[in-house]
Assembly symmetry: C2
Homo-oligomer: 229 residues x 2
């Protein structure tokens, strides 16, 4: 980390702690997504309920990271790159926390779906979940490693999710048209696809903020993701 | 504003500018929601397209506010309450910007809906939109006036939106079951209800951050909103 204004060891340790806590929070939420989808695919109520419970730990980390950021800003009054790092961390936690909320929403729809017979074998949704999880992990890796190329890759991957949602939308629509008794279940699956889309959106937002943090340039509101910045 | 560490006039002016810009951005987004719903109710393609265009201005303000916050943090190194004010502003802009995205999404679904005959007269959706807009306005008023009671009111209003979404879900489901040719349109309307639900969620998040800013206490992850803090 270049252009560091403060070199005291305590400050370095706290910055390090910030990275560790963000990765910890991200890892937890990544696991939440995986468990939510397993609960859905295996029709496992207990796993859904346990995943909902994990949300407390995610929320605790959210508050802890915010506190740490405020302490770093107040005590060390960083400037330039460190300032961008800490303010980015502040913004990123909101996205991670909401990704956790999406995992909880998936579990809630799963508990509802498990009360009725399975509509169809799930193929697209687990595939979307894999992409979304990878996007989350890579966006946080990009943050910790200050890796702009990886952040840009995440932004580009967002299209794959949108394509899969549209495909699922068409497939579920024909189910519903053919047999109206599937409508409620199909809509719940569609909502789950939408939650995964939002997870991908949040990961994209994190990545855009990482680009700003490292380069000091905003790509947030561009129509196309540039190959490099 | 008590406990101010810096009393120089320039700093005060910049803090004032921060409030003005946040209200400006909030006002724009509030108008976007209103226009999106008018475009939907009046089946007005042109208004939908114009509303999508406004998004550039919202995005410009988002970048400007972030820049201003970073400048305030770097040059004035505020502590205590001012530090919380500026970091809250940084987080709030993300929410306001995403509310703008939701208005754009409503317009996109509207353009699709306008290509088919109207499914039904819209009653619940405009009502939800009114509540969501009020929640946004009040959450930003609460921020500027540091009004905890108003912020807590916004958090409580979130339930009304959830009730209306559930009601609409049931109503649209019976439409779809009775006449499968309505399915695509009904789902688009359901997505619009979900966007409004997210606008209400973002406004609730803003309000929770205002409570933290003023009281230094987090109510973000409580199961029930207390009557006062």
């Amino acid at each position: 980390m270049e252009a560091r204004q403060h070199t005291d060891r305590h400050y370095d340790a706290e910055l390090q702690e910030l990275n560790v806590k963000i990765l910890e929070m991200g890892g937890l939420v990544e696991k939440q997504i995986g468990n939510a989808i397993s609960a859905l695919v295996q029709r496992d109520d207990q796993r859904a309920r346990m995943t909902i419970e994990t949300d407390h730990t995610v929320n605790r980390l959210d508050v802890e990271i915010d506190d740490l950021c405020l302490r770093l800003l107040a005590l060390h009054q960083p400037t330039a790159k460190d300032l961008r790092l800490i303010t980015t961390a502040l913004k990123i936690t909101t996205d991670i926390e909401r990704i956790g909320d999406m995992a909880v929403n998936i579990c809630e729809r799963t508990l509802e779906l498990n009360q009725e017979p399975q509509l169809k074998p799930l193929i697209d949704i687990p595939r979307m979940a894999d992409i979304a999880r990878t996007m989350l992990r890579e966006s946080l890796d990009a943050f910790v490693r200050e890796d702009v190329d990886l952040a840009l890759k995440v932004c580009r991957d967002d299209d794959a999710i949108d394509d899969l949602t549209n495909q699922l939308f068409r497939e579920l629509s024909s189910y519903m048209i053919e047999s109206p008794q599937t409508i409620t279940r199909a809509i719940r699956l569609l909502f789950i696809a939408k939650y995964l889309e939002r997870i991908a959106d949040h990961s994209t937002n994190i990545s855009e903020m990482v680009v700003f943090m490292v380069r000091g340039k905003s790509i947030r509101h561009l129509d196309h993701i540039p190959p490099s910045v």
